[in-house]
Amino acid sequence: MQEESLFPDLTNDEKKLIEDFLSEDVNELSDFGAKRREFLKQVSTVAGAMFAYQLMGGQEVFAHSFNQTTGDEINHANIENGITVAFKVNGLQKTLEVDPRMTLLDALREKLLLTGSKKGCDHGQCGACTVIADGRRILSCLTLTATCEGKSIVTIEGISKNGQLHPVQAAFIKHDGFQCGYCTPGQICSAIALMNEAKNGEVSFVTADVRVKARPLQLSDEEIRERMSGNICRCGAYPNIIAAIREVHSGKNVAELWKFAGENNQTQFKSSV
């Protein structure tokens, strides 16, 4: 296996997970133009590989394997003012006993080991913790788990279906809509909800005339920017994020603002140095 040496630091189990995943999803990868080999070249660091893996919704698998080692059965009897909450996460019914102070973000990450949703600021200022609750994007860092009884939460781990990337995920990869990837789960959840809002004809602060009724709405880049302003990207991947969202929202192919350096480009680069 040629690729094996690319992941020298991974345990055999982790290598196998990535192997399994990659062999299943070769077709999707080639759908957006990167062949498996090329893709792997790019994903040549462990962090990168893990990230790509996470993006593609494989996190639940990791979560399960963690579950076995960390011990899911914590004794909750001593939680002060503890309360029991039952709600759905990515379609699965969950019942948790939580301290009333526990935010939904912490419950997802610490109790359910769904670490896709990120804690950027913990104060509502960045959007990294965005999840979809009963069909609407919300901030899980400002939501108490205690208030989630009966709700249905969808996180980044729950948006791919049957091993198929959600179109927004695929578009983020095609358009390189990230750099470090920390904001990405929130960006993607937010973008998915945004498209529904546009379908329903919901207006924004930059909508020219809020009295005009139209649905679905075709969003300009300015509209997309305004509607995504609740998701901050420290790496500044904004142009690519907009391109990815525009592609899925419009249903029309949008050209990448970047491309892999192929053999030719590399020679050109070398000869010009």
Binding site: H123, R137, V203, R227, S229, G230
Partner: protein, 335 residues
Amino acid sequence: MRPFKYSGTGSVNAASQILAVNPNAKLLAGGTNLLDLMKEDVERPDELVDISRLNLTSVKMISGGVNTGGLSIGALDKNTDTANHPLVRQNFPLLTQAILAGASAQIRNMATTGGNLNQRTRCPYFYDIAMPCNKRQPGTGCGAFEGVNRNHAIFGWSENCIAVHPSDMCIALVALDAIVKVQGIDGTVRNIPFSGYHRLPGDMPQKDNNLNPGEIVIAIEIPKNNFAGKSYYLKVRDRASYAFALLSVAAALETEGNKIKQVRIAMGGVAHKPWRATEAENFLSGKIADEKNFKEAADTAMLMAKPLEHNQFKVELGKRAIVRALMQAMNGGRI
């Protein structure tokens, strides 16, 4: 965050009863302001009364009574739902614009009418428990008064507190002469005119508004008006979106020919409460709706301004913002 007891509740009455018995209990609606402040250790309730599931959601046309044709909004309607409601978009587009100017889509999906009204100031000294702040801890002094006060008030402040109310939605509501309906511990409902809901700081900056202990906001009513065709919410901030206002102006006009029949001007980011520019409105009433008069009105509005060390720019900014908001309103409120 300090430990607290989480209490669900089945009715406004039951929620009031908890507030009546426990002065350290607080209502939890969307949580977007309260949780943030609890994480900062600024708010320290020992009990949260979750009212988010109470049946106080309904945006509807008022039928019957003096306010027929007006609008009623429930205390727990999400900001997103209010902004996008067809009745609001059609008849009160100023409110739609003001709500959508605030926060982010995610936050507006969580934030409620009652929570928006009762959100606390964003003064950084109020947020930082290492700093003196009369609003957070009466008697400790005002950190902002001699500190960095670029974002603070130019109207109606006292030496005890120079903070501003951060809401955008409330600026449209005060311009539209809304009424706040509140229910007390004994179940009686009273109406508070919007301009009398929030307070100036005076010597009690810890009190943001005139709610009595245990009172709960249940609804907002906006009287019918003829401003829908000519209104505009202008927000000036340090970045293009997802930032609180440095200053904002809600403008609404009703004209007859080229004359102003009625006009409303309200400002955000300038005072401890949503600020009505009454003198400017009086000046404009009956005059021709043109830029010259708008400029004179804007000068009038700013006559009483008392800027602080770092916010003198707000006086000129305020004048220009008033003129621009009025011009945009005359232009049909389109961007």
